[in-house]
Symmetry: C2
C-alpha cells in the first residue's frame, strides 16, 4: 500500500514514516504544511507533499491521489488554542475523510485519544480537545471508508516496548509514541482492525496478538 501520513512532521508521524520507509510491503508519502518540512523529508528519500488542513478539500485530494491508505495523526495533543483544535483536529480531519472518499482512498486510520468516544471519560483538563476528537471520530465512523480509530492513552517519548493492551474501554494509562506508530503500521493491513475503534495503552500482549483479540 502507498500510505499518506497526515501530520508527518509530528512525533508519531515521524516514527510511522520511518517504519513505512523501511517496509518492503508499503510505500509512504508525507503530508506537511511547510516547504522546509517537505524538503527535509525529500532529503531522506521520502515522498512529500505540501497541503494545509485549514485549506480546501481539493488540496487534500491532490495530496491523496495515488495513495491506498491515509493515516491522520495531525493535531496538537490538546495544547494549542481551541480555535486551531476546531479547525484542524475537527474540520481538518473531516475534510481529510471527505477527500479520501472523493478520491477513492478506502483505508483510513485515525489517531484519536483514549475514551474520546465516551463524554463521561473525557480528560477534564482538555475537554474542548476531546470534543473535537469525538466529533472527528464520529465523522470517520459515519464515512464510507474502511476505518480504524486508535485511541491511545497519555503519549510518552520513552522507547517502545512492543507490548500493548487494546480494547473498547480501558482505564487511563500511557503508551510510548513509538508503540502507537507500530500499532498504526500493523493495523494497516490487519483485517481484524477494519471498522474498529479501540483504546490503546501499554500492556502485556504483542501488537499482532492484541489486534487480533479486539
Amino acid at each position: 500500500m502507498k500510505v499518506l501520513v497526515v501530520g508527518a512532521n509530528g512525533q508519531i508521524g515521524q516514527k510511522l514514516i520511518e517504519l513505512l520507509q523501511n517496509s518492503s510491503k508499503h510505500e509512504v508519502r508525507a503530508m506537511v504544511r511547510k516547504e522546509e518540512q517537505a524538503a527535509a523529508f525529500k532529503e531522506k528519500d521520502v515522498d512529500a507533499v505540501i497541503a494545509d488542513l485549514e485549506g480546501g478539500v481539493n488540496q487534500l485530494k491532490d495530496a491523496l491521489y495515488g495513495c491506498d491508505a491515509v493515516v491522520f495523526t495531525a493535531g496538537s495533543g490538546g495544547h494549542t488554542g481551541a480555535d486551531k483544535t476546531l479547525l484542524i483536529d475537527l474540520d481538518g480531519a473531516v475534510k481529510t475523510v471527505e477527500a479520501a472518499e472523493q478520491v477513492g482512498v478506502k483505508r483510513f486510520i485515525m489517531v484519536s485519544a483514549l475514551q474520546a468516544n465516551n463524554r463521561e471519560n473525557w480528560n477534564n483538563s482538555i475537554r474542548p480537545y476531546y470534543a473535537a476528537k469525538h466529533y472527528a471520530d464520529r465523522a470517520v465512523e459515519q464515512s464510507s471508508l474502511i476505518y480504524t480509530i486508535i485511541r491511545p492513552g497519555g503519549l510518552l517519548n520513552d522507547a517502545g516496548t512492543g507490548k500493548i493492551e487494546a480494547g473498547e474501554k480501558l482505564e487511563r494509562g500511557t503508551i510510548p509514541r513509538e508503540d502507537v506508530a507500530a500499532v498504526i503500521y500493523e493495523s494497516l493491513d490487519t483485517a481484524r482492525a477494519f471498522h474498529r475503534s479501540f483504546d490503546l495503552i501499554t500492556g502485556e500482549k504483542s501488537i499482532s496478538e492484541a489486534l487480533n483479540a479486539i
Copy 2:
C-alpha cells in the same frame, strides 16, 4: 406545543420567550444556567428550568420532559473563547439533540449562522465558531428529529420589520434579532419548514410567505 427554549437568557431567546408567552397556541419553558436567571423568568410567570449545556445529557433530558419542541438558541455568536464554542455551540447542541431523541421530543429548531453549511462561505474572522455550528447542524440533520435549521445573517438589535428573505444560499446580509425570534415562532408549526435548513436575512416578504416559499 410546549416549547423549551435553550439559551432563554440570550437576546433572541428572550424575544422568543415573549412571543411564546403571549401565544394562545403554545406554552413555553425557559432553560437557563443560573438560579437568578430562572427566578427572573418565574417572576414574569414563565416556567423555567436550570440546566448546564456543559453537563450530562441526563440533566437536559430532565429539562425536556413534558415538552413537544425545543429551540436551541444558546451560544456566543462567536465572541467567547473557542473552548466554550466547542463545549457549548457544538457538544452542548449535540447533547440537546440526543436528549430530545431519548425523551421523544420530536420538533427541534436550531439557530445557526448564515452559510454555516458551506465551508467556503464561512466568515473568516470567526471560522472556529462556524466550524462548531457546521458540525452541530450536521448532527441535527442526521438525527431522527423533525428539525428546522435557521441560519441568520448578521444579528441586529434594531426593531423587527417582519420582512424577510429565506433561502438555501443567500448573500451576506443582516436581520434584527426580533425577526429571527418571529421566524422561529412561525416555523414551529409550519410543515413546510420541517426537515429544512435555510439562510435568513431581512428581505421583502412576510414571514409566512417566505417560509412557504422555501
